[in-house]
Amino acid sequence: MKSRSMLGRSVPGTSLIHRLDARVKFIGAIVLMVATLSARDVRILAVFLLWTITVMLISRIKLKLIMRSVRPLLFIIIFATLLHLFTVEGHVILQLGTIKVTREGLISGGMTALRLVLMVVNTSLFLTLTTTPLAIADALESLLSPLRHLRFPVHEFAMMMSIALRFVPTLLDEADKIMKAQSSRGADYDTGGPLRRIRGLVSILVPLFISSFRRADDLAVAMEARCYRGGVARTRLHTLKLSVIDVIFSVILIIMLLLVIVVEPYLPPLIAV
C-alpha cells in the first residue's frame, strides 16, 4: 500500500503549472537540472531559488508534500555537503585535530546543498507532483516521434509505457495478496538467514510472474479483439497543443539557461567558487 503512494504521487490541481504542456515541463525539468548544477555563482543560484519559490507558490502544492520528495535523497545531499565542507582548501575558520573547516568549504558546501535541493524540488514540482504519469507518457511519445525516421518503434514504446502504468497498481495488489497467501501457508519473510529469505521471495515472484504472463496473454487477445493492429494509422487521442503560457514559460527557461551560459562568465567576481 505504501509503495503505491510512492508511484502515483501527482496531486490533482488546476494551477498554471498543472496546465502546462507536459513536453514543456519535461524539457523544462531537464534544463533546470542542468542549469542549477552548472551554476557556480551565488547570485545566479539566488535567482534560481527565487524562481523555484515562485513556481511553488503558483502550483499551490503544500510545502510538506514537496519536502517529502527531498527526503529519499537527504543522505546524498548531506554527504555531498560534508564532503565539500571538509575537503575544500582555503581560509581556515575552525580546526579540530586533523579536521578543518574553511570559509570556502562552508560556502561551497552550502551551495552544493542548495543546488541539489533545488534540483530535486524542481523535478518533483514539474514532473511527479503536477503531471500525471499518463501525460508524461504522452509527452515522451511526442518528443520521441522524430526517432520514427530512424525506425525506432515510438508508438509501441508509448503503448508499452501506458500499459505498464495501467497495470502497476494491479500488480501491487496481486503481490500483496500472494504474500498474504504464502504467509498463511507458513512462509516467513521477516526472519531467518539470507538463503531462507531468497527462498521466500521465490514463493512470491514465481506466482507473480506467471500471473503477469497470463495477464499479458489475455490483454493481447483483448486488444486484438478490439481491432488493434499496431501503430499503423491509429487516431491519436491526446493531441498536445502549445498555449501562450507554454511559450512564456519556455522563454523564461531559455533566459535562465542563458544566464548560466552567457551571463555568468562576465559577472564581476564576488565569491565565486
Binding site: 487477445v221 479483439a225 478490439r226 481491432c227 487516431t235
Partner: protein, 593 residues
Amino acid sequence: MIHFKDVSYTYGAEEGQLPIRAVDHVSFHVKKGSHVALLGRNGSGKSTIARLINGLLLPDEGSVLVNGMDTTDSLDIFEIRRICGMVFQNPDNQLIGATVADDIAFGPCNLELPIDEVNARVDEALRSSGLTALRDRAPHNLSGGQKQKLAIASILAMEPECIILDEATSMLDPMSRRSVMELILELKEKSDISIVQITHHMEEAVLADYVYVISDGSIVLEGTPAEVFDQFERVRAEGLSVPVHIEIARRIADTTDTYYRPEDIFSFEGAVSFVRGVIESRTSSESTGDLDAGYEIGERRGVDNASQDLDRERVIEISNLSFDYVSDAGEPVRALEDVSFSVEKGEILGILGHTGSGKSTLIQHINGIIPSKKGTVVVLGRDLSDRKTVRDIRRHVGLLFQYPEDQLFEETVALDIAFAPKQLNRTPKEVERAVLSAARRLGVESILHRSPFELSGGQRRRVAIAGVLAAEPDIIMMDEPAAGLDPSGRDELFSDLVTLVDEGATLLIVSHDMETMACLCDRILILNNGKVAGYGTPREMTSSADFLQSVSLDIPSSKRFLNCFVDLFPGLDTNCYTAEEAACALLRAVAEG
C-alpha cells in the same frame, strides 16, 4: 448474422503437443437481434467457440461466417471484430486505457476514426453504460461490476452488431452480476444488438431466446430455455444447474403423473400456479408416492442442533473487533465495527455479506495477517494481540484466499502441496504423509508429479486447497472456494470439504451464495457494512425475506418457492434448500392433508 458450418478446432496441433479437439463439428447460427446462450461445464469448449466467432481463432475444418464474411479472410477480419465485440472473463485483463475514457477510446482509435468522432462515441458509450461520472477514473479503482460495464462500453463505442460475453460475469458477485445483466438486456431492448452469452449461470441462460448446451466440443442439447431446462436430469448431467422452481414443478408433475407444458412452469409464478393446481386437484384424493432422496451435496447438516451442544469447545472468540483501513485518498474507512461472535470446534460457519461488507478483512484477523487493534481475537484459547502468538497460531489456522490457484509456484503439484508442512519443519516422512492425505482428500493424488501450470483451472484450485490442508490446520478459512467453478464442480468441492469436519476440523466459509451456504453450514454470520447484521442457524437467518434483502443477499429459491404455499399448509417445513427436498416437503404436506 453468425453462421457456424461444421466447424472443428484442435489445440496444440502445430506445437507437437498432444492435440486436444476443443470444438468438434459444430454447426449453429445466431439471428440478428437474438440472444443465444452457450452453456457447458468448465473446459467444454464454449470459450473456444466464442473465439472462433470473431477470428481470434481460425477453424481447422468448416467455416465461420459473420454477415457473410469468412473469418479466414484477412481483409475482413477487422470488420468482423468490430461487428462482434467481446467481453472477457477477467475484468482486470481486458482494460487497456489508463482512464475510463481512454479505454473506451481505444477501439475507435484503432478504427482510425477522426478525433471528434472518437470523442463523440466515448461520450455516447459513457452515457449508455451509465459510467459518465467515472469518466476520468483509473480502471484499477473501479469495482468488478464497473470494470465489466466499462468493457461493454468500450465495445459499444465501436458500434457493434453483436456482443459476445465470454463468461463475463463469472468473476462477479451476485449483485454486480445482476447489474451487468441489466445493462446487457437494456442494450438489447434499445438497439437491435445480438447477444452471444457463454455462461454456466442458469439464471443468465433463462434470459436467452435459445440455448445450446456444449459438451466435449459438441452441441448435445439445444432449444428454448424452457425446452432445455425441462430435461433437468440431462442438464445436470452436463454439470449445470436447473432453476429450482422448474425442478420442483417437474418432480411434482412426474410423481403425480400430471400433464404440463415446459413453458407453463418456466417462470417462477408459472411453476407456483402449476403446483397449486396439482395440489388442489389432489388434496382430498389418494396419497402420493414418495420420492427417493439420493442427490445432495453432502448430507444435510444439523440445521438446528448446532446450538444444542453447549459444552463444545470454543475455538474462535472475537469480541468488539473494529478495524479501519486507510483509503488511497488518505482517509480512514471503517471496514469492521464492533464485531463479536464465537465459533465452536467442529462447526461449519458461513460468513455472508455483499462485496465490501468486511468478510475478507474479518477472516484475515483470525490468522493474524491483519493485527487486531481494537477488540480482541482469541483463537484456540490464545489472544492474538501478542505477535509471537500469531506466528505460532498460523500453523493451526489455514486461510485460503479467493482464486487460490494464483499462489501456486513449485515445479510439481507434490512440491507445492508440501510447501506448508515443510515450513513447519516437519520430518520428510511426515511431510510425505501430509501431502498424500491432503492430495487424496481433494482427489489430486494422480497428478502429484505434474506441473501445476499445465492443469485445468478446477484442478489447480484443488491443488491450492490441498496446499493449505497439508499443514493439517485445526481451523480452515476459505474465501469463496468455489468462485468461477461450474455448478457440479462447486458441489463436488463442497462435499469433499465437508468431510474435514468429521475429523474434528472447524470450517469457516466466506460466500455470497446463501443457497449453498444454507444447506452446508451449521451457523451463519451475516455482515453488512462491517457490522454483524445477523448470526444464527440457517433457519433463523433465512426466515425473513425482507431482512435478507436489506443485507443484499438472496433468499434460497426453494424456500422462496415453498413460502408461496404456507397459506395452504400452515405447518409446511420451508427449511428446504434443494429442489428435491422442497418437492418432498410439498408432497408430504399434500399426503398429510
